[in-house]
Every structure is written in C-alpha cells, then in structure tokens.
C-alpha cells in the first residue's frame, strides 16, 4: 500500500477537505478544514487541486512512517517538524523516503497543523468529500487511530520533487494570530436588532476567553454575557454563527456544527476569521469588531486572488505569476 503509516496520531487528527456541501438539508454537517487559510496554503505548496484532502492535526504529537516515497507539505500551527530527527520547515514542503519517520512536537502556539500530500490523501470519499465529522459515526470518516494507513496517490516523479521541494510560505502570508491586536470581525446576524444595544456594545468592547468547551463543533467563549431575546425557532446556522444560549455566553459555531440551531444570533464571524479562532486554545483571549458582508467578501476574494497569483521560483522564492 502507498501512503503514510500512522504510528501515533497525537491528541486528535482527522482528514479534512473543503467539506461536504449540498447535504445540510438532510442534517449532514459539512465539516471541512477548520483553518481554511492554512489548509489552502498546504495544498498550494504542492500545486494540488484546491479542494484536496489534508490531515488536520490537533496539538501536534504525530509520528508517522512513509510506506513509499512521499512529497508532503506542512502548514498551520508550528510544531517543529522533523524527518528522522532532522528539522524541516514549518510552512513548506518536505520529502520522505520509504521508512523515513516524520515527527511533530506540540506546537509552541496555535492548535491545528495541516499535512498535505501531492494529489491529496486518498481516504474514503462520501457524498463528494473525505472530511471526517467524528460525531456522525460514518465508517472510516472519523478520528485517525494508531496503526492507520493514510493512502496516497502514485508519485511523485523526480521532476515534481525537484520543482516543489524548496517551497516555503513566508510569515507575512500567514494569518495574524487571533489573540493579537487585530480583532475578529462580526457581521450583524439575523437577530442583531433583538439584542440590547448595550450588550452589543460590550460584545465589541470586551475581551472574551476561549473555554475548554471548544472543539470543531464550536467555541464557547467566556466574557460579558448578552441577554438572549426569546421567540426564535431553529433555522440554518453557518460556520461562524454566534449563538447566545441561556447563560448569555456567546458560542461561535465552526465546521462540525449541527445544521440548524434555535439560539438567538447577534452576529456571524466570517470564514477567514473563523480560521483564526479555530487556531486558539482554551485560555486564549479574542476581541471582536463590527464589519459588513461586503468587507468580508472582499477579504475572501483578496485571499483567493493571492493564492491564484503567487507561485514559487525554482529556488523556492514566492513570487507573483507573470502575465
């Protein structure tokens, strides 16, 4: 078998692509890579299709042995990756011969690290996606276990290795950390007008802490409570929907969320900021600021354009595509 043999998956590792779209009306959670930016860069480093499946590794700790020659890319939370003990770059490509061992330490900051392979990991596809939503209990679409083999496509040939091997993503292209001065954006949500204006003001003037009740389904935050208005019936919820349950503490829904929810929604965090939030650990602080849909769509377009327009020179320098 071709691929990567998982000796130890670390605290939690799942296969994720862009998610399972088109089936939310049946109650299927879309799942998908929680840090859209890091996941896209990992694939971009290998000239992969943009939707290729990567391994999403929580808090590092992974140890794996190559069954065959593998050309991989790594991005996201920096966890001092090494191959047979020799350090390799945090946001770059790496090569493994059969029998080589890749080891990731616990990241010094952030949470999620992405591991891509040329052509994408070939785990089971269900309804167009390889994304694992662990709680849905679908066969072979769950959390990676010790002894699993991550199947890889054939290749890479020598030419691809020569072309891809020196690539790295410079720090300036990565997302600012969520706990920096750069606040997470909030699009006014469907129940914005039902909330108390003082509560809404506190939402953007206060610090909120990430609690330990945070995972791929959603992040529960601790900070000033908002009084939730009543009388909402369940409706579709998106990645980034901010729910305010009875205790008034906001919860930001992420990729593995349920498809509908009945708590009032004062705001929605846009997708690229969800990516930053998903990199936070319990205890990290975040701040919010209001933004409108147009600003968030523009940011998303700029990100897509950046991926389209930048590639690497044979020496591994990131440069703007000519023409």
């Amino acid at each position: 078998m071709r691929g990567l043999h998982i000796e130890h998956p670390g605290p939690r590792a799942t296969v994720q692509d862009g998610g399972r779209t088109g089936f939310q009306h049946q109650g299927l959670s879309p799942g998908g890579a929680a840090d859209l930016r890091a996941w896209r860069w990992a694939n971009h480093l290998l000239d992969n299709p943009s939707d290729a499946a990567c391994l999403e590794i929580t808090l590092g700790g992974l140890s794996a042995v190559a069954e065959t020659r593998l050309l991989l890319a790594i991005s996201g939370a920096p966890c001092s990756p090494s191959v047979n003990g020799t350090p390799v770059p945090d946001w770059g490509t790496l090569f493994m011969e059969p029998g080589d061992r890749l080891q990731l330490k616990t990241p010094t900051s952030e949470l999620l690290t992405y591991l891509a392979v040329v052509g994408g990991w070939q785990t089971r596809k269900f309804l167009g996606s390889r994304s694992a939503v662990a709680r849905e209990g679908l066969d072979n679409l769950g959390v990676l276990r010790q002894g699993d083999l991550l199947p890889s496509p054939p290749g890479p040939d020598q030419e691809a290795c020569d072309e891809l091997l020196l690539r790295q993503v410079p720090p300036s292209f990565r997302a600012p950390l969520a706990n920096s001065a750069d606040a997470l954006k909030l699009i006014p949500g469907p129940d914005h007008a039902l909330f108390d204006t003082m509560d809404l003001a506190r939402l953007v003037q206060s610090e909120y802490q990430v609690t330990s009740q945070s995972d791929r389904m959603g992040y529960r935050l601790d900070g000033p409570a908002l009084r939730p208005p009543g009388g909402i019936t369940s409706r579709g919820v998106t990645c980034g929907t901010v729910q305010v349950p009875g205790d008034g503490k906001p919860m930001v829904l992420l990729n593995d969320r349920q498809t509908i929810g009945g708590y009032p929604v004062p705001a929605t965090v846009p997708r690229l900021d969800c990516s930053r939030l998903a990199q936070c650990r319990p205890g990290d602080s975040v701040r919010f600021r209001w933004a409108d849909v147009a600003e968030c769509q523009a940011e998303r377009m700029v990100f897509e354009e950046q991926l389209r327009s930048f590639t690497w020179s044979p020496e591994g320098h990131l440069l703007r595509r000519s023409g």
């Binding site: 009306h25 579709g236 929907t241 997708r271």
Partner: protein, 241 residues
C-alpha cells in the same frame, strides 16, 4: 389554491449565506410552502447555491462567495420571490408510515408519561399514532426530522439533563414535537418507543424531507422484530434523569 404568503425577510447572515425568513413561529401550515419554495429555488439557482436548508419558518441559502456576491444573490432571490407566492399551499410531500413498538422496555419515559397524564401506555401510543405529523426541519444529526404537532395531552418537555447514549430508532417527544433518533446519540427527548426503520443510511441517505408527513403505526413485539427492530432494552431504563 393560491398561497397567502407573508412577504419574507431576505438578509445576508454570513459571507456565504442569505436567510429567507417568513416567520419566527412554528406553523405547520407554513411547511408545505417552505418545501415548495426550496424546490423552486434549488431549480432556479442551482448553479450558484451550494446548500439550501429549509427549517420551520425559514430557508437558509448558501452560495460560493468566489462565484457570486450577496447583492447578486439577494437580487436573484427577490426577483424569484415575486413569482413564487403563486405556489400552491397544498401539501406536496410524501406520507410516510413508521412502525413503532411502544413499550417501556424501549421507551423508558412511556410509563411515567402515561401515569402523569392518567392514561394507559396504550392510550399514549394511540394518541401519538393518531396524528399525521408534518416534518418541519432536519438537523441535530443526519436524518433527524423534527415533527409536529404532538397532541397537548401527551406533549412533555425535554429532560432536564440529556441522556448520554440513546439507541438508534428511539422515538421521543419534546414539547409539541416528536422525532425518531436515526443513530445512537446523546439526547434529551422523552422516549416512548422504538422504530425498526432506519432513518438514515449511506446508500439512500435521509428517509425524511421537510414537507413530508409522517404517520406512526403501533406494532407489537413480534412485528417489530420481523421488521428488523432491535429489542435490546434501554440500558438506563431505571435511571433517574
């Protein structure tokens, strides 16, 4: 018959989603219209829409923000909405019959509910299976359909503390809604029986759709087993929730 449809609110709720909301209330009469709207929108905007989630009084439309923007989507939705109110409000969904073995062994809350309402367990089963339920929404887990309205005589709130593990097929009540758990999961609905039919599998996907109507049919133990039901007694049957 022409539909008397409230003019919906159409607002962007995320950079990739627009909400079409008719009502904040649970209204069984609205569901056929929501289902019909969903079908029409899917047909008209299928090339732009990535997901379309009907629920109670609303439809959430998801789109790819790399291929369209919210002004374009809202404009499309508004122009389509001008022609949609002509839709019939006659129920369009299928009628699906679901067999249920109403028994304390698999419905750990059945006896207490019957006692509290001074009914026999058979009467609770009859009241539950006499109503034709509307499927309002799917969610919580794949194939989980929220249905109503449950007769007030047997309507009962969710448990204070949800159970950690509920067997697949469990039939529950939460206030005036009822549902069948498609798979093993945690849950807080009060359980009165078990259904042998699978509500979700990977080949045929979800059995129920929003707009379908469901009629439960009380079956005995033998028929329950013949239909493939698992009569393993509920493990926490004696526990105090």
């Amino acid at each position: 018959m022409a539909a008397a449809l409230p003019q919906p609110r159409i607002v962007p709720t995320a950079e990739d989603a627009v909400l079409i909301e008719f009502s904040q209330q649970i209204d069984p009469a609205l569901t056929p219209l929501i289902a019909a709207w969903s079908d029409s929108l899917r047909e008209a905007l299928g090339h732009l829409v990535t997901d379309l989630v009907p629920s109670y009084g609303s439809i959430t439309v998801y789109y790819d923000p790399d291929r369209s923007d919210f002004l374009n989507i809202i404009r499309s939705l508004k122009s389509i909405s001008n022609i949609l109110p002509e839709l019939s409000d006659q129920p369009t969904g299928r009628i699906i019959e679901l067999p249920v073995w109403y028994h304390p062994a698999v419905g750990p809350d059945l006896a207490a509910l019957a006692e509290a309402r001074q009914l026999s367990t058979q009467q609770v089963a009859k009241i539950h299976s006499d109503t034709c339920y509307q499927v309002y929404a799917l969610g919580f887990s794949p194939g989980f359909g929220f249905m109503g309205q449950v007769d007030p005589a047997i309507a009962t709130p969710r448990l204070e503390r949800p159970r950690v593990r509920i067997p697949a097929g469990s039939v529950g009540i939460a206030n005036r809604q009822t549902a069948v758990y498609p798979a093993v999961s945690p849950g807080g609905w009060q359980l009165i029986g078990r259904c042998p039919v699978r509500l979700f599998d990977e080949q045929s996907l979800a059995l129920l759709s929003v707009g379908d109507r469901v009629r439960f049919r009380a079956v005995g133990h033998d028929e329950f087993l013949e239909l493939g039901g698992d009569d393993t007694p509920f493990e926490g049957a004696g526990e105090q929730p």
